[in-house]
């Protein structure tokens, strides 16, 4: 078996047109779902009446169904539904809009849970300390709790983004001309599927790597208050068994202190 490298170079050139499409889907989904996911998380944490169970239902609904099923349902149901309102022109809408809808709805559910768990990691004592220096609960939330929650949310937001990047390849089902779709079409002409898929593979790897790098800088910036003496550095190696550097919790658990506490009580 040999690889048709000329064909690969050709696919590499044509598939580049799909990169902006993939990035568009990812960016639109992220930009819309980040604030909504955050608001949903607040709704859950503060147990807002009526809304809280609805959000919970929504999250378990989205998380409990395969993405491909969500895509197929939105893609087959939405145009017909829209057609009953705006008529036949609904069928000529650019399919990328459906991709925006599916991936945004999906990310909202993931990010709701990300923000919810992140907000819960901040110790209640931080709020109490804020109240005891005379700050209002809202001021304490914005100035003390939120910045800390954001730091613990970032690794999971990175994860969600990477999944989003990779999942966006499923947009080809909705005939969106992203990287995957272009490569697939090319391959169908000459049956060089392996070559085309390898190119796709490389493209996603590059995009995911760039995203990881970007989020690493964000994480480093926002967690500067947690940094102790050992500076973290980005793991440049694409493939390595080195564990990702984890952020050390601001207050370290010290069994010795526990013992002292018990001795006193």
């Amino acid at each position: 078996m040999s690889l048709d490298t000329n064909f690969m170079a050709q696919v590499f050139k044509t598939a580049i047109a799909g990169v902006p499409v993939t990035l568009q889907i990812v960016l639109v989904a992220l930009i819309v779902s980040l604030p909504i996911g955050f608001i949903f998380a607040l709704v859950r944490i503060y147990r807002v009446k009526i809304l809280s169970p609805l959000v919970r239902l929504y999250v378990s609904f989205v998380r409990g169904t395969p993405l491909i099923a969500q895509i197929l349902i939105i893609y087959s149901a939405f145009p017909s539904f829209l057609a009953t309102i705006i008529g036949k022109s609904a069928f000529s809408i650019d399919p990328i809009n459906y991709a925006y809808i599916v991936f945004t709805l999906n990310s909202i559910a993931t990010l709701t849970e990300v923000f919810r768990s992140a907000l819960q990691t901040v110790d209640k004592g931080q709020l109490e300390a804020g109240l005891m220096v005379g700050m209002a609960p809202r001021q304490t939330f914005v100035r003390v709790i939120l910045p800390q929650a954001l730091v613990s949310a970032l690794p999971n937001i990175t994860n969600a983004t990477l999944y989003l990047i990779k999942n966006s390849s499923l947009a080809f089902i909705m005939s969106v001309k992203d990287i995957t779709a272009i490569a697939k079409t090319q391959a169908a002409f000459s049956y060089n599927f392996l070559e085309a898929y390898l190119v796709v593979w490389v493209y996603y790897l590059i995009i995911a790597y760039a995203a990881e790098l970007l989020f690493w800088f964000l994480e480093r910036y926002f967690s500067r208050f947690q940094r102790t003496t050992t500076a973290k550095s980005f793991n440049w190696h694409l493939f390595s068994f080195k564990q990702p550097t984890t952020t050390v919790a601001a207050v370290q658990y010290d069994p010795k202190k526990e013992l002292v506490n018990h001795a006193h009580n």
Partner: protein, 246 residues
């Protein structure tokens, strides 16, 4: 200056505070002692509105009312006139030492930033932490963190400072530096209410000792009264246990 009458508080079916009367006068250094579960911490948290009381009245900083029905304004007034030092410091993890102290001054008390910085530096100097202004809490030892916690409280010039077991989370060798700062504050005339298991502090620094057990004030008086001539058997028993441990 601060008067609490007939304070009651329950968690579910369990009554934690069973009608407490508590008074703090200007310049008082009161230590609260008692076995764990006696309601000392809950008393402090209820007075400072971190917990809502079920019954009883408060008279403090111009607020007079039922603890269970304080208005938002009353709560804010009380909070802006007390200082609180937590057992586990509760420094703002995302703020530097200096920001920890200026935060309340600037945000809550609306003091201009430059002035707040001057006040904060003076408070940090007093607790011996002026060299650590740019450190984050994660870079401080327990003793250092607690001294910043004290600086944060005193910078606000509160009428009363409450200390909830300020040295209980510290390694034994760090307890001294925190107690020294507290003793110095007491000598300067600060009004303090301190929950502590440090009996030497209770005996030598306080002017009043309150012994609590099972949600009630069992006995209160001068350190000499309580430590040398306890009247109530429950107090005698507690002191015998605690002093024999050392």
């Amino acid at each position: 200056m601060l008067t609490i009458k007939n304070l009651t508080k329950s968690y579910g079916p369990q009554q934690i505070l069973k009608g407490i009367d508590f008074q703090v006068n200007q310049g008082d250094v009161i230590t609260l002692i008692g076995p764990s579960g006696s309601g000392k911490t809950t008393l402090l948290r209820t007075i400072t509105t971190l917990e809502k009381g079920d019954g009883g009245t408060i008279d403090f900083a111009g607020v007079q009312g039922e603890l269970a029905h304080l208005s938002k304004n009353d709560i804010r007034t009380i909070r802006q006139n007390v200082g609180f030092v937590f057992q586990n410091y509760n420094l703002f993890n995302n703020k530097t030492t200096l920001q920890n102290v200026t935060e309340g001054l600037v945000v809550a008390h609306k003091i201009p930033k430059a002035q707040a910085k001057t006040i904060a530096l003076a408070a940090l100097k007093k607790v011996g932490m002026a060299d650590y202004v740019a450190h984050y809490p994660s870079q401080l030892s327990g003793g250092q963190a607690q001294r910043v916690g004290i600086a944060r409280a005193i910078a606000l010039k509160p009428q009363v400072i409450f200390f909830d077991e300020p040295t209980s989370a510290l390694d034994p060798e760090l307890v001294g530096e925190v107690l020294k700062v507290m003793r110095q504050l007491a000598e300067e005339g600060a009004t303090m209410v301190v929950i502590t298991h440090q009996m030497n502090f209770a005996r030598n620094v306080a002017n009043k000792v309150v012994f609590m057990a099972d949600g009630q004030v069992v006995e209160a008086g001068s350190p000499a009264d309580i430590f040398d001539h306890p009247q109530v058997p429950r107090t005698q028993q507690f002191l015998a246990e605690i002093l024999s441990n050392v």
